[in-house]
Symmetry: D2
Subunit: 236 residues, 4 copies
Amino acid sequence: MADAARVTIWNEYRHEKSDENVAKIYPEGIHGALATMLEEAAFEVRTATLDEPEHGLPDDVLDTTDVLLWWGHAAHGEVSDETVDKVHGRVLGGMGLIVLHSGHFSKVFTRLMGTTCDLKWRHDDKERLWVVAPGHPIAEGLGEYIELEEEMYGEPFDVPQPDEIVFISHFGGGEVFRSGLCYRRGRGRIFYFRPGHEENPSYHNPDVQRVIRNAVSWAAPTPGAVPVYGHYEPVE
Amino acid sequence: MADAARVTIWNEYRHEKSDENVAKIYPEGIHGALATMLEEAAFEVRTATLDEPEHGLPDDVLDTTDVLLWWGHAAHGEVSDETVDKVHGRVLGGMGLIVLHSGHFSKVFTRLMGTTCDLKWRHDDKERLWVVAPGHPIAEGLGEYIELEEEMYGEPFDVPQPDEIVFISHFGGGEVFRSGLCYRRGRGRIFYFRPGHEENPSYHNPDVQRVIRNAVSWAAPTPGAVPVYGHYEPVE
Amino acid sequence: MADAARVTIWNEYRHEKSDENVAKIYPEGIHGALATMLEEAAFEVRTATLDEPEHGLPDDVLDTTDVLLWWGHAAHGEVSDETVDKVHGRVLGGMGLIVLHSGHFSKVFTRLMGTTCDLKWRHDDKERLWVVAPGHPIAEGLGEYIELEEEMYGEPFDVPQPDEIVFISHFGGGEVFRSGLCYRRGRGRIFYFRPGHEENPSYHNPDVQRVIRNAVSWAAPTPGAVPVYGHYEPVE
Amino acid sequence: MADAARVTIWNEYRHEKSDENVAKIYPEGIHGALATMLEEAAFEVRTATLDEPEHGLPDDVLDTTDVLLWWGHAAHGEVSDETVDKVHGRVLGGMGLIVLHSGHFSKVFTRLMGTTCDLKWRHDDKERLWVVAPGHPIAEGLGEYIELEEEMYGEPFDVPQPDEIVFISHFGGGEVFRSGLCYRRGRGRIFYFRPGHEENPSYHNPDVQRVIRNAVSWAAPTPGAVPVYGHYEPVE
């Protein structure tokens, strides 16, 4: 990616409208907070939300998206199968995907993983995300760990074994969680990043922002070899 | 698994009825040939086919199956989503799954993988399956490679990176293929094994049979820790 | 492995002789405690210690060992390179190896890993080992986690990415650690298991014992395909 | 890596001096041919050879190297353990390492892998390197495969399971080989790339050159989180 990656931030955008505590934390929506910090990093940024036509993701948007961020929670079932099919196909074709927090249960992520993506959870805990892959580009510029007031997610996390684990979280209540996971699916790269409960201001945390920026750079597609499938004659 | 694994062999069972060349190779069906050699190895074996009620996989069969084998090709679309949902859930719950040859495009396998599972292919080639993980239990008792007259499958194979690769195939026409792949999904183990085109007698080959028997033993469930999901209170 | 695995338990066996608190916990030595519980599980068990001739591991012992357990701490440097070479070669040839606790810094383990195997540590903490791979045979029969009074080991743990992670530990002081790690090297299987500080009675804990028994069964060699190396003529 | 990576190419540089056929193919040495094409790609390039003092790798060179390339064959044993220790430590500290062809048996690579790195081989074959990870940055800009007149290397390749496989090779004589392998060790990234027998002009092949350039970019260190090891007090 010589040029700046073109990022589309998808957000369910319901909690911010229905819950005034969330609205105080994210007055422009979670997508707005993420957009601001990604624009400051010189990415080309758009946003899309559930209640827009085609959920804000018509073909021309997907056609020009290098990396898609996905935040959803209470309305996974309202995302149309047509949109899920399209996003799934784009990721396999090379588009990067960054799945945030409760997006673990989104149709897009569970389709890509093939598992339930289930976990245990509890509000109001203290999370410490330890860097377990210190040389990984997604950990660039971090210290030993990131500490947040957050919702707890606990193991087992029912996902396929990741290609690489960047973070493992410690929670005050006694749980652990693999909280930064890299997957390659088809030609696309996927990063799952745990923090981001809507009642906690985690997306305002500078280290969380840094991780997301690093992940966007990591997930941006490379114009790699184009696969050929189907009936195939031997090469002379 | 102290006791013998209970195996159910699922077969589409259409080619054997419509094509007399295939019928000559597998007069009792592909499932019949597999059943015979697994019974000889003292496994407890049943068979199920597409055109039976519930495709031969009602709940009481799935409830008492440790390892399911799956061969399908021309009629993947006729397998009901209800059955696919059930099998998918059973695998995540611990049932072993061995996907054979053209089963790479079955609904069950693509659902578990999350990718297209596409590949390139051509009839009438010569396959040499090299053991690349000599200490793996699925390779137990083999020599350096297995050689077969077979259909060619060529890379790239659009599947997630496997947890372990046991075989890589060489084809006379110039292609290669990762032909023995291990996955863990949920509590279940999955083995994809490439050979088995219906017009070639590969399931009569003693080494192919040995691999399938080894894979059944490997995939049989262990009464491991039971995962707990959902809302979770801290442990004192 | 149709027959019971032949296990050799190697122990440095110094703390038990020099520190009376340790001697109270392990009056027969750490190797003695491990031997007792493995014999009860019908394995064929021998022990070997640092101060015996050839560290208790002459060729005839290694020749008849299926799985070797390794506990060392203060005297890694006293293990001769000759013995390390032999053990290293045996593991690559198929012998299982279970490396316990402070064995992370042993010559044998660091040679096999190729990395520093460094970590952070602190005495007197509370460890909770969460099962993160519920269907894994090494987790067979466990509950959700194991809880111990133990020394803390903290991430990053400078080891190669494991083939499978069975446990991740939570420590009361705020750290996490990948505490049950599976590797295949050559034809041999290696399991690293974190607990076992000499001042804590962890090897008397029934769940810790269960993990080690499961790991012995998992690591026992299979008579797999024998690799052929060197100059090679094409097969007709 | 905002700036161009600083690359040091290490070459045994014996065949080119003793064998006139090799000298015709690589009149400036293998390192010279590699240096030219990397300089054209705007990397900052130096070379080092076995017979220079400290094998051309004194501390000040290693201190200013982002990515080291390694070609050796007949004189692995002449590389001093002191240099091997240093290179090993640098890789774990973050320096990228690209191991070429017969470098599989170098002290540096076998130390990092922990296995024998053995394989089978034969001169004068035809290699086709298939891209099996089409979206991988090391495959950027390639077609479906690369074809070369080359020495054959055959499986099993006794290395740890790689973190990612980019290429698998087909050989005319009937063998296969995992020929492009990614590893992370410590904070460093390692790429093993198979081609480059001294009697074949493979390093003049534009696609081989492209792979090496891509691999240099991939292996360049990121200023990631700095690991902390040793005795550790709990964080308040």
